[in-house]
Every structure is written in structure tokens, then in C-alpha cells.
């Protein structure tokens, strides 16, 4: 069993290494590796039934072994991740055919996948944070696939920097957990709650990774990468990792932290929902929608129902990846993702449009599609929580916004006259989407079963069902009817631009940091100048001292000669030893005087050597003095 667990993680990792090292430019290896992982995951899941089907340790930090644990919940997540990833991998060769950076793309996306799998199985926090950050690194590489374009560079750097900043919350949170529980294991038998501060640290990390307000803007920058990357990054990995962290720490969080989690999620649902509605670009709309849907998961956790969040995590992974892959086909048609250019494109890509439509109404919550079941779970969870009035109304409003922006997206892609001729649908890409759409259509019927296997419960009640359906239909209608001209003006521009106040990240963070660094560097230069000056004057003093030294040497020389004369003169009065001693000393002094003159060249390195040698002599003299004094 352990070997299967290792295969799941190592297969994509090996594929990544080989792709990079052998500079392979096609996706065969990653596709085979992902299939292998999927087979292993399904086998483990099937053979399970117990809560823990495999457990693997290896020595990591002292007294804190690294461990991988294949719990049922991890295996369910893994299966979803691999199904989505495999579909995206099947889609990609055709997508990348015309593009640059194939080797970079395939190596990066396999690394990305293996990091996510490692994260899901991580049984201790050190391995968890390792997977978490390697995924961030991989996403940096992937967003920068077309690194010659400035948007790609900026998007990649911004994504990594914002998440790196919030990851400090994960570091601190983990310190708190380890200090509280005494070990680094993720799954404790009996969980002891951590302090509110510790919980908030974790929440910060979740907010960054899952692109919650106010850190949502990196997601829109990340759109500069290839569309398959966006599809994976927005569905089953990266942003989804934030939610996985929430599932893991949920038992450790106290009431206050849960309330804050719900509030953050609720705010994000509304704020990014509006951004999505105001969006003029299909990928930007989907990006904002991702933040908003992740907000639903936070809301469900805040309402005390990780089961509902878990269900929505699964449903969202399939729906969002279908939407992105559909958008990718449209994008290829016009080399653009803006609605203006894509107008009516659905009419000459009817199969793709149908898939996009199904995924869109599924996300809006139309039965019996996937999103209906999971959204119902969240609505039910909020209606049963201790903050019903607040959470339930936010959830309904969010569901409405979701339907509105999905309605709008469908309309903008369908209505209007297409600018291109109707061409053949890209078969391979469409096949990949069909696999995902099959899950979107049928998945809902198995959702409760799957959630139960994972060890959670899926809340549901009939009132939420009715309200949910009504909201979805109303929202879709509103989305179809609304006019783009309503969203002009300063306020809507700000909304569209992810509420970037005062110039956003560039002006609020980057510039001041650089300015401050520049200021500190001025201090540094001042210090160096001071040291230089001291150094130069020191050398001058040394030079003067050297001259004095020569004088002294001559003096000593004279004394030495006098000493010899003296000892010669008083030979009869002195013992032989003393005579020899004095003679020896004076001769040495004489000798060293000559040597000193020879070395008086003013060159720094000679002085250094002399100093070192002098110091060594000094040490012996001092010791000798002390020893025999």
C-alpha cells in the first residue's frame, strides 16, 4: 500500500524531472504519469473502507519525522485532482501546439501536480508547508511560461510575492500548533484547539492562497499564463489548496476564528462577485468567480460545516476547469479573451458552447447538475449555523451574483455575429472537456456518498433547495438581460480592477519597499564612507608610527651595540649566561631593525602579513611572560 501512495506522488514528479532534464517538448510522459497516479489512487480508495489505508514515514527533522497519510478524505481529493488534471493534460497538447514554451509548460505543470498531491497526503506540517510552497514556486514558473511578455513576468512575480507574504501566516500558525501540541503531526487523535491568534495566522495563509479579499488581485494577474494552467490553478490546485488547509485545521479552530473565516468568505463572495459581473474579459470573469466560489467554502467552514465546503470543493473543481477549458478554445479562435472580440463565437463552436453552457448553469445551481447539490449543501449549512441571518443572506446574495455573471458570460459568448467563419471543433480539446462535463452532469448524484466516504456529512434542507433554485433562475435571467453600458464610470472601473485603491499593489507595497531599501542603502554607503576614512587615516597613523618605529629601531640598535660593549667591558663581573642573553637580544634587535627597514614599503598586504606574524609572536611572548613571571 505504501508503494502505491509513493507512486501517486512520485509519478508526476519523475515526469517533471525527466521533462526538464531531457528537454522533452510533448506531454506524453506527464499524461502517462498522471494516469498511473490516478490508477494507484483509485486502487487505494477501493481497497480502503478503513479510515487510513496507507501511512509512510521517513526521518525529517530531529524528533519530527516526515509522514504521508492516505486517509479516505485525502484519497477522495486526490481522485478529483487527478481526474481534473488528467483531463487538462489531455486538452493541453492541442492547445500548446501553436504556442511557445512547451518544455517549460509540461515540466512545470507536472511539478505543480505532484506538489498538490504531496500537500493532500502530508501528514505533518513541515511536509505540508513544503508542498504548499513548492506549489507556489511551480505556479510562478507556469504563469511565467511566456516570460518574454511583461504581463506574464508581472503576473508571476505578483502571484508569488502576495502568496509568499501570506504564507508567513502559515509559518506562524505552524509554530503555534507545534508549541501547543508538542509535535508537528497534522492529524491528532484528540485535537486541542489553538489560540485565536494561531487560528488567524492560518487564516491569513488561506486568504492568500485562495485569493480572498484583500489578496484577490494576484489571480487576475495569473491569467497571463496559458489557459490550461489557469484551468488547473483555479480548480483543483493552488487556490484549492487554501481550502484543503482549512479542512485540515478545522478541528483546531475556535468559535471566534470560525466567525472571522465566515466573514472573510462572505465579503469575498460579494466583492469578487461584483468584479466578475463588471468584467469585460472571459478569463478575468472566471478568475473573479474563483475567488467568489472559494469564498463559499470559507463561508461553509465558518458556518461549521466542513462537509458542505468539501462538497463544493469537488463540484467546483469540475465546473471551473470545464469553463476554463471552454474559454481556451474560444481564445484560440480570436487570440484574445475579451468579450468584445469573442462576441457570438459560440455560434461557430457549438459543441464547445454547449459544454460551457452546461458548466455555467451548473455553477449557478440549476438541478440536477453538480453545482446545485453543493450549493444546496452550503445554503443548508448557513441556515443551520449560529449566525443564520447573516451567513444565509450572504450565501443567497452570492448565489444570485454567481448566476448573474454566468448568465452574462453565456450571453456575451453567444449573442452577436461571429467575426470568423465556422470551423471544425478541436477534437482532442473537446474530448477533454467532455470528460469533465460528464462529471458535472452526473457527479451530483454521488456527491453525498463521496462526502460520507471522506468522513464528512452533507447538510441539506428543502427550504434551501427551493430558495436556491429560484435564486439561480432569477440570477441567470438578470445576467442575460443586463446591459454592459450599466458598468461604466469610475466606480465600476475600480470594481473591475479588483478594487485597486491608490494604485494597488504596485504603489502601496512595491514602490515604498524599494524606496525604503534605497534609503537604507544610503545609510550603508555612509557607513562605508566612514570606514574608508577611518581606514585611510589609520594607515596614515600606521605610516607615521612606522617612521617612529624606525627611529626606535635605530635607537635600539644603538643600545644593542652599547650593550655589547658594556657586556664586553664588564665581562668579569657577569655570569656567562647573562652575557649570552644580552648579546642574543641585542643581536636580534639589530637584525629586526634591518628587517623592518626592508619591509617598510607602505604596501598594505605586506603590512597585513607583518601584523599577523607580529601577532603570532606577541601571543608567544605574552604567554611566556605570564608563565614565567
Amino acid at each position: 500500500m505504501q508503494i502505491l501512495l509513493l507512486i501517486i506522488i512520485l509519478a508526476p514528479f519523475t515526469a517533471s524531472l525527466l521533462t526538464y532534464m531531457l528537454r522533452i517538448r510533448n506531454g506524453r510522459l506527464p499524461i502517462i504519469a498522471a494516469s498511473l497516479s490516478l490508477a494507484a489512487a483509485l486502487f487505494l480508495l477501493n481497497s480502503g473502507g478503513k479510515s487510513l489505508s496507507a501511512n509512510y514515514f521517513y526521518p525529517g527533522l530531529p524528533n519530527q519525522p516526515f509522514q504521508l497519510q492516505a486517509t479516505n478524505s485525502a484519497l477522495v481529493l486526490t481522485t478529483v485532482i487527478l481526474l481534473v488534471a488528467l483531463s487538462i493534460f489531455i486538452y493541453s497538447p492541442q492547445y500548446m501546439r501553436k504556442e511557445n514554451g512547451k518544455n517549460w509548460f509540461w515540466g512545470g505543470i507536472s511539478l505543480f501536480l505532484s506538489a498538490m498531491l504531496l500537500l493532500v497526503f502530508a501528514g505533518d506540517w513541515v511536509l505540508f508547508i513544503t508542498a504548499w510552497e513548492i506549489m507556489g514556486f511551480a505556479s510562478f514558473l507556469l504563469i511565467a511560461t511566456w516570460y518574454e511578455k511583461p504581463e506574464a513576468q508581472q503576473g508571476a512575480v505578483k502571484a508569488f510575492m502576495l502568496t509568499r507574504f501570506t504564507d508567513m501566516g502559515l509559518y506562524l500558525g505552524i509554530f503555534v500548533v507545534i508549541l501547543t501540541s508538542g509535535n508537528a503531526q497534522v492529524f491528532h487523535g484528540t485535537a486541542s484547539q489553538i489560540s485565536t491568534l494561531g487560528g488567524l495566522f492560518f487564516l491569513l495563509a488561506v486568504m492568500g492562497k485562495s485569493a480572498q479579499v484583500p489578496f484577490q488581485s494576484w489571480l487576475s494577474g495569473a491569467m497571463a499564463g496559458p489557459t490550461p494552467v489557469s484551468a488547473l490553478l483555479h480548480s483543483a490546485t493552488m487556490v484549492a489548496a487554501g481550502a484543503v488547509l482549512l479542512f485540515r485545521i478545522y478541528p483546531l479552530l475556535n468559535e471566534d476564528v470560525l466567525l472571522v473565516t465566515g466573514l472573510v468568505g462572505g465579503t469575498t463572495i460579494l466583492v469578487t462577485g461584483l468584479t466578475a459581473i463588471a468584467s469585460r474579459d472571459v478569463k478575468q470573469l472566471l478568475a473573479a468567480s474563483t475567488s467568489s466560489q472559494l469564498g463559499f467554502m470559507l463561508l461553509a467552514i465558518g458556518a461549521g460545516s466542513p462537509g458542505a465546503a468539501f462538497a463544493h470543493w469537488i463540484a467546483h473543481a469540475f465546473m471551473k476547469s470545464s469553463l476554463f477549458l471552454g474559454a481556451g478554445i474560444f481564445q484560440h479562435e480570436y487570440n484574445s479573451t475579451s468579450f468584445q472580440k469573442l462576441e457570438g463565437t459560440g455560434k461557430n463552436r457549438k459543441a464547445t458552447m454547449l459544454a460551457f453552457f452546461i458548466a455555467a448553469i451548473a455553477l449557478s445551481g440549476i438541478p440536477p447538475l453538480f453545482g446545485y447539490w453543493s450549493k444546496d449543501g452550503i445554503l443548508a449549512a448557513t441556515s443551520q449555523s449560529s449566525h443564520t441571518a447573516l451567513f444565509f443572506s450572504v450565501a443567497i446574495a452570492g448565489a444570485f451574483l454567481t448566476a448573474v455573471y454566468m448568465g452574462k458570460a453565456v450571453k456575451r459568448l453567444w449573442q452577436g455575429t461571429p467575426k470568423n467563419e465556422e470551423g471544425p471543433e478541436p477534437k482532442q480539446m473537446l474530448t477533454a472537456i467532455s470528460i469533465l462535463i460528464a462529471f458535472v452532469m452526473a457527479g451530483g448524484f454521488f456527491l453525498e456518498y463521496v462526502v460520507t466516504i471522506a468522513g464528512y456529512g452533507l447538510p441539506s434542507d428543502s427550504l434551501s433547495k427551493v430558495v436556491g433554485i429560484v435564486t439561480a433562475i432569477a440570477g441567470l435571467a438578470a445576467g442575460w438581460l443586463l446591459k454592459e453600458s450599466w458598468f461604466t464610470g469610475k466606480v465600476w472601473n475600480t470594481v473591475r480592477d479588483n478594487f485597486s485603491i491608490a494604485g494597488g499593489y504596485q504603489y502601496l507595497v512595491v514602490k515604498p519597499t524599494l524606496a525604503f531599501a534605497g534609503y537604507v542603502y544610503k545609510v550603508e554607503l555612509l557607513m562605508q564612507y566612514f570606514i574608508q576614512k577611518t581606514g585611510t587615516s589609520f594607515l596614515q597613523i600606521a605610516h607615521a608610527a612606522f617612521n617612529t618605529d624606525t627611529l626606535l629601531n635605530n635607537l635600539m640598535n644603538g643600545m644593542g651595540t652599547a650593550g655589547i660593549a658594556l657586556s664586553n667591558g664588564t665581562k668579569s663581573f657577569e655570569e656567562e649566561a647573562v652575557e649570552a642573553g644580552v648579546y642574543g637580544i641585542s643581536a636580534t634587535v639589530k637584525e629586526s631593525g634591518r628587517w623592518g627597514r626592508k619591509l617598510q614599503s607602505g604596501l598594505v598586504h605586506k603590512e597585513l602579513v607583518i601584523t599577523v606574524a607580529g601577532m603570532l609572536v606577541l601571543i608567544f611572548l605574552l604567554i611566556a611572560l605570564i608563565k614565567y613571571a
Partner: protein, 492 residues
């Protein structure tokens, strides 16, 4: 091999033997210097690995002793424990890489290699010595060796660097000498045996305070910590690539090793008393180093300043070890010792890569450089991995070290840890900025002198270091298990 076989003496003498051989062959076969150095350092490396792998490290389990100046209590004493072994290993690894990398040296080949071999012997001597006097002698020789390396094979502004280097090292050595003498004199009976000094911890009161701060200043200059660091960027700017790799990779560790061996192990009580001050200086160094690095446009100076940042974390870990409760103290110390090893391989690797870059470009100014990824894909990929290691990405060498330092530190100085995590973010920012500015984008052909990617000798020097960086990141236990043998005994 029998247990009393003098492994350590052989490891120490190998480079010196190599040096002699090179000097003997100087006139007849000047080119023999390169293969001789590579083979000699390779054998030293293998012997060191074998010594560790055969489980002989322990806590000075294997000692080699010979009388030297019996009347003073000074002797030739060599031994290794979990703190010094990683450093000896680091020295042999890095020197091996540096020798391979030096294949294209043209100026005074025999002198260059014999100087480097002398430097290697001195570095090994510092970490192997268990005698104050022996330690001090080797410590001084490293200065001289490094000095000549910069002066002989450095770049344009040697004199300025030389003056600064000179002033600092002069003061540092003098203070160190006095502190060591004080350790000697205030222990009865007088002894230079470091094991006895670590056991007795005899210094108390005012003398202890003076000795402690003497040691602190000496090692803070070497490490370097703010505000004693200004020699470092200057020396790096002027030093040749190999010199920079050795300087940052190994010579800085002389200071941090001193902090642990002398300040922490010989006078823990005094250290505990002043730990807060040390901690504050370390935190300032970490943040200050990161900020100044961010303001650099010269890529080599940027990397040089990140050392100040990393050494800040390291000394913070040592300060934590002095005050924290045993569990957390040991965690921080494990981290600090591993940080020495990790910083050595990561920064050594970065400086070698910059050396390769410098051979291919007309400038080191990042704003002028563009499109390296397109032109030199392998070099750039390795640089990106090494930079992410340097910024502390988990899965690479720095993370297990820094994680343990911060984890241990959080129990005693949570606010300081918070401040230093900001340093971690700034470091990430500066490396990403460099990558964005110089490695991405479209190449500007005007700045390239050669357009070929890494040559085979460069790959042989650098790729093993990269593999090691990843190995230590994913399997930190390979080094930590040896370190922890010793650190776990810190009852302090």
C-alpha cells in the same frame, strides 16, 4: 582501517601535500596544478564522507593528539563533533567544486592553486582544531590566504577592498587574541584544550563579560553582523568568483562557528545574560541585509548582502539556543548549524554561477542585462533554483534550517521572529526582481561576449551542488542526524 588511524591529520595535510607537489612541479609542469588540486581535494572529500558515514563522528569520539608546547598546555589536538563535522564536510565539498571550476585560470596557475590549497588546509584546520592556539594560527592563515587571493586575482578596485578588509581583520584578530588569552588565563589549570574549556566554563563576572564581548566583536566581524559588515560587499565585488564562493561559503562560517564553539559552549551563562542584545543585533542584521540587498543593481553585490541577512538568522538561532528551554533551544541550534552548511552550498553555488555569468557578459548591472533565460537556459535554470533556495523555499536547503531557527525562536522571541519573517519576504522580493529583470525578457545581444551555455567543467562544478541543495531540502536528516547527536546534549 583501524580506529587509531589518523584520518583527520590526513584530511588536514592532504591540501598541504598538494601544495608542496604543485610548488615542486612549478617550473616543469605548471599545468599539473589543476589536476593535482582536483584529485587532492577529491580524495579529501571522499575521506571526509567516509569518516562521517562510518559513524566515527559522535562527540569527539575520534581524537588525534600530539604534544606541541607542553609547558604552555598547548598541543596538536584534532577532533570532530556534530557541529564541526558539517563544516569540514562543507569545506571539502566546496573546495572540490571550486577547484573543478578553476579550470580556465590563466594567471600564475601554480601560485593560484597552491594558495587555494593553503586556504583549504587553513579552513579545515580551524574546524578540526581542539586547541585554542592551533585554532588561532589557522584562523590567521585564512585571512592571509584570502587576502592574497583577492589582491592577486581580483578585479579593478582591489586597493579599496584591501584597506577595508585589512582594518577589520586587524581589529578582529587582535580582539580575538585577547579573548582567547583571557579564556586560557582564567581557567585553572591554564589550558588551551578546547574540550576542557567547554567542560569547565570557568569564567565569571566582569572578566567573563569582557571576554564574551571580545569574542562577540571578533566573530561579528567575521560573520559578519551589522554594523561590522561593511568589508563584505567590497571584498566580494573585487574577489574572483572562486574567492567569493570560498569567502561566503566557508570563511563566514569561521565567525558563526566561533559563536557556537566559544561564546555558546565555553560561556553559556554569560551568553544567556547578554542574549537579548545579541538577538537584537542579529534581527537588525537580517532585516538590514535584506533591505540593502534589495537596493543593489549589481547582481554580485546583491548576493553578497543576502549573506548578512542569512547570517542574521543564524546568529539569532544561536542566541535562542542560549536562552530558550532545552527543546526549543536544541531546535534553534540544530537549525543554526544546518544553516551554516546550507548557506555554504547555496551561496557558494550562486557565486560560481555569477562567475560564469561574468565571463559571458560585459556587465554585472542587472538593469542592463536581459533575456538570460533565452540565451543560457541551463545556467539560468540553475540560478533560479539556487535563488529560490536562498530565499528559503521549502524543499531546498535553507528551509529546514530557517524553519527550525524560527520554530525554536518563536517560544522566546515571537515578535523578533515576526520581524525576521518580513526579511524572508523581502529576500523573496529581491530575487524575484532580479529574475524578472535580467533572466526573463528578450535578450539584448550587445551585452554578451560569449553565447554558449555552461561548459562541461562548469556543469561538473555546479550541478552537484544543486543536487545537494535539493537533497538537503528533501532529506535534511542526512546532515541533521549528525548535528543532532551533539546538539541534543546541550543541557545548557
Amino acid at each position: 582501517m583501524p580506529d587509531n588511524f589518523p584520518f583527520l591529520t590526513i584530511i588536514l595535510l592532504l591540501p598541504l601535500a598538494g601544495m608542496l607537489l604543485i610548488l615542486l612541479l612549478k617550473s616543469t609542469y605548471p599545468k599539473a596544478a589543476y589536476p593535482v588540486s582536483v584529485v587532492i581535494s577529491g580524495v579529501a572529500l571522499l575521506l571526509t564522507i567516509w569518516f562521517g558515514a562510518s559513524g566515527r563522528v559522535g562527540n569527539f569520539a575520534h581524537i588525534e593528539e600530539a604534544s606541541w608546547i607542553p609547558s604552555l598546555g598547548a598541543a596538536y589536538r584534532l577532533g570532530l563533533d556534530g557541529i564541526s563535522y558539517p563544516l569540514v564536510l562543507l569545506s571539502t565539498i566546496l573546495f572540490f567544486s571550486v577547484f573543478i571550476f578553476s579550470s580556465k585560470i590563466e594567471k600564475e596557475i601554480p601560485r593560484y592553486f597552491s594558495l587555494l590549497l593553503l586556504l583549504q588546509a587553513a579552513c579545515l584546520g580551524v574546524f578540526l582544531s581542539l586547541d585554542l592556539l592551533l585554532f588561532y594560527v589557522f584562523f590567521e592563515i585564512t585571512l592571509v590566504g584570502m587576502y592574497f587571493l583577492i589582491a592577486g586575482w581580483g578585479h579593478e578596485n582591489r586597493k579599496k577592498a584591501a584597506i577595508t578588509f585589512f582594518i577589520y581583520t586587524l581589529i578582529g584578530s587582535l580582539v580575538l587574541l585577547l579573548a582567547l588569552l583571557s579564556l586560557y588565563l582564567n581557567t585553572t589549570p591554564h589550558t588551551f584544550d578546547m574540550r576542557v574549556l567547554m567542560e569547565k566554563r570557568a569564567l565569571t563576572g566582569t572578566i567573563a563579560a569582557f571576554t564574551f564581548w571580545g569574542l562577540f566583536i571578533a566573530f561579528a566581524i567575521k560573520t559578519p553582523l551589522f554594523p561590522f559588515h561593511t568589508w563584505l560587499p567590497l571584498a566580494h565585488t573585487e574577489a574572483p568568483a572562486t574567492g567569493s564562493a570560498i569567502l561566503a561559503g566557508i570563511l563566514l562560517k569561521l565567525g558563526t562557528y566561533g559563536f557556537i564553539r566559544f561564546a555558546l559552549q565555553m560561556m553559556p551563562e554569560t551568553f544567556r545574560q547578554y542574549a537579548t542584545y545579541v538577538m537584537v543585533i542579529a534581527v537588525i542584521s537580517a532585516v538590514y541585509g535584506a533591505l540593502v540587498a534589495m537596493a543593489q543593481t549589481d547582481i554580485k553585490r546583491m548576493v553578497a548582502y543576502t549573506s548578512v541577512n542569512h547570517m542574521g538568522y543564524l546568529v539569532f538561532g544561536v542566541a535562542v539556543a542560549a536562552v530558550a528551554p532545552p527543546t526549543q533551544g536544541v531546535q534553534a541550534l540544530d537549525g543554526a548549524v544546518l544553516q551554516m552548511f546550507s548557506h555554504g552550498i547555496v551561496t557558494g553555488c550562486l557565486f560560481l554561477l555569477i562567475g560564469s555569468l561574468q565571463e559571458r557578459l560585459t556587465t554585472r548591472e542587472m538593469p542592463a542585462i536581459q533575456g538570460l533565460l533565452r540565451t543560457f537556459p541551463l545556467l539560468s535554470a540553475l540560478f533560479i533554483i539556487a535563488s529560490f533556495a536562498s530565499l528559503g523555499l521549502p524543499g531546498l536547503a535553507h528551509f529546514p534550517a530557517e524553519f527550525q531557527i524560527f520554530l525554536g525562536g518563536y517560544s522566546v522571541y515571537p515578535v523578533a521572529v515576526g520581524v525576521m519573517l518580513i526579511g524572508l519576504v523581502i529576500t523573496a522580493g529581491l530575487y524575484l526582481r532580479a529574475i524578472q529583470m535580467s533572466f526573463m525578457g528578450t535578450p539584448d545581444k550587445a551585452i554578451f561576449t560569449i553565447q554558449t551555455d555552461l561548459k562541461s567543467y562548469e556543469q561538473w562544478a555546479i550541478v552537484p551542488l544543486i543536487i545537494l541543495i535539493i537533497a538537503v531540502g528533501l532529506f535534511p536528516n542526512i546532515v541533521l542526524s549528525i548535528i543532532h547527536q551533539t546538539t541534543k546534549l546541550f543541557g545548557l
